[in-house]
Subunit: 339 residues, 2 copies
């Protein structure tokens, strides 16, 4: 089965599992809270009527299932965990949108914009709680409780790691002296940790041994890092039409690795951009040039490439199987690369 066929087969099952968790894990669920959760996940409109809104690529749950298969397991055993990581990811987006003040997500008003901050915080907490219940459903599919407990441990530590990354990211907004090293620690938590955990949890539930679990986890971590670093490059030099972003990261004053690296080399980038209150289109064009000259782009591209290679090496250590080949294909497709 190729990658497209895998998605076609498994995405409906993953989404059915997610909806089943939301609909059945607690009763009676207040109707409005149910609507909020299904709206955010793309399964309902703001009145609670069924809808199918494109709600992300569902990469993480697919990585759980492929990780399970790569470790020699039956992906049906890991299906609840696939739903769990996707619910977890979506919970974090609910709270991120409040923390960042973002009013739109995938073209629709964010939860806090529709229902207010108090209800949105609380609905995020509900989804966070449900993600744990989703993972526990592996027990119902015959997974050894020892492995369920181990997977819950990875899940829990990852969730703390995510909040550590988010803590740093929020702090960066008001700082002009963020270092490249600090940035690396932030994206390890905010981006790489859950992708790593998706593969580790899949491998644990698939019956993998410690070496397989570690190799697949390291592949996931590297995939997360290379994806984030490539996204940082696209955020400055990409075509907004293609990236789907509402404007350059420079205009939004986002501190990503190209800028942080350039600020370490070029005092003008450091003193003017990192402390700027606003950046015009014209400023952004000049700044983009300065960052390129200071090596911010080349440095970030090299870091993304190194992470990708490390990921490939880790994946090779996980053995060779159709699932491993699919993971390699998924990584290439996600990063838009042919080799």
């Amino acid at each position: 089965m190729n990658l497209a066929a895998q998605f076609e087969t498994w995405l409906p099952r993953i989404e059915t599992e997610m909806i089943d968790v939301v609909e059945t894990c607690f009763s009676p669920m207040p109707a409005e809270l149910r609507t909020m959760l299904l709206y955010h996940l793309g399964f309902a409109d703001a009145q609670g009527a069924p809808a199918r809104i494109s709600a992300g690529k569902r990469i993480r749950p697919m990585l759980v299932l492929l990780g399970c298969q790569a470790a020699g397991g039956d992906p049906m055993h890991a299906l609840p965990a696939a739903a769990a990581v996707e619910l977890m990811h979506n919970f974090s987006l609910i709270h991120d949108d409040i923390e960042d003040g973002d009013e739109l997500r995938r073209g629709r008003p964010t939860l806090w914009k529709v229902w207010g901050i108090a209800q949105a915080i609380n609905s995020g907490d509900a989804m966070f709680a449900m993600s744990h219940l989703a993972l526990l459903r592996c027990s119902l599919r015959g997974v050894d409780p020892v492995r369920v407990v181990r997977a819950m441990g990875v899940f829990g530590r990852t969730n703390v790691h995510l909040t550590a990354g988010q803590h740093l990211d929020i702090g960066f907004e008001t700082r002009s002296d963020v270092s490249g090293a600090e940035y690396g620690i932030m994206i390890e938590g905010k981006t790489a940790a859950l992708i790593r955990a998706s593969l580790e949890i899949g491998a644990i539930l698939g019956g993998g041994n410690d070496a397989q679990i570690a190799a697949l986890g390291e592949f996931g971590r590297c995939l997360g890092l290379s994806f984030q670093l490539q996204d940082d490059v696209l955020g400055i030099w990409g075509d907004p039409q293609q990236t789907g972003k509402a404007g350059s990261d420079l205009i939004h004053r986002k501190k990503t690795l190209p800028t942080i690296f350039a600020a370490e080399q070029d005092p003008i980038v450091r003193d003017e951009y990192m402390r700027a209150l606003s950046v015009s289109e014209a400023d952004a064009a000049i700044l983009r040039e300065r960052i390129t000259i200071a090596g911010g782009r080349a440095h970030t591209e090299a870091a993304a490439e190194a992470a990708y290679r490390n990921g490939q090496n880790a994946l090779n250590a996980a053995g060779s199987s159709p699932a491993v080949a699919l993971l390699e294909e998924l990584a290439r497709s996600l990063l838009g690369r042919s080799t």
Copy 2:
């Protein structure tokens, strides 16, 4: 061992376990995030220096340990779960303070007041994640993984129940037509669920059978309800000096059972108070009289008494043992009653 001796023996162990979870569950923890968590728990000041600030009665973790003993278990096996429910309770307070806009908790500025809303939401999420890791530590103390998974299930469903209760409570603020039945559903989630879960989880980890687990859980649920209903009476008729509240619930326009019941009987309470934008001290005195006359106090006291009696009956079904006697003593002490 009497109740005071139990608290004296176990409170330091519970707090050591809580601190150990926060300090060791993830590394490297950003220093400021660590400070926020320890500050909220009463173990540090806002600069992160060690402190011992009175941070609640720690009733819930004590109920976990007594539930474990009442089911015939060794409380050391349930110590991680005791830390888990207290971390869970404290996580919910972090988010409640943001949702309610409360600026003070136990005489100190709330987390969001010191560090801002974005960081406070995120630190609550960190504590929520940690509460799950705390519970998983039961595995390290030799509890059968099947029982750990079962306890995690109760914990997860309870956490969803809490958010369902909180969702209703937030919604009540802007509604003038809340019914007594709706209020009952709200406090089942917001107050009773975690107290019930504390006893259930303790009983599960203590090796209890299904009947013991159910009986102890029902005792906890009834204890939570009777405590809340009694608190509702004190919030209107209690002496602010004794209750430690900054003013009557009436002045804060809190909709608790006495008022909701009275509004169902008396159109003036319904039309004037439930829709009032502010309530003066003089208004409150008049209103208090009207609520008494409409039967709001008597109704709430009767409901609290009924819940207490149901709880006692449930506890009797859990058998007789020193731990059961201590639970009975704890309930009486919490409710300030002699029989």
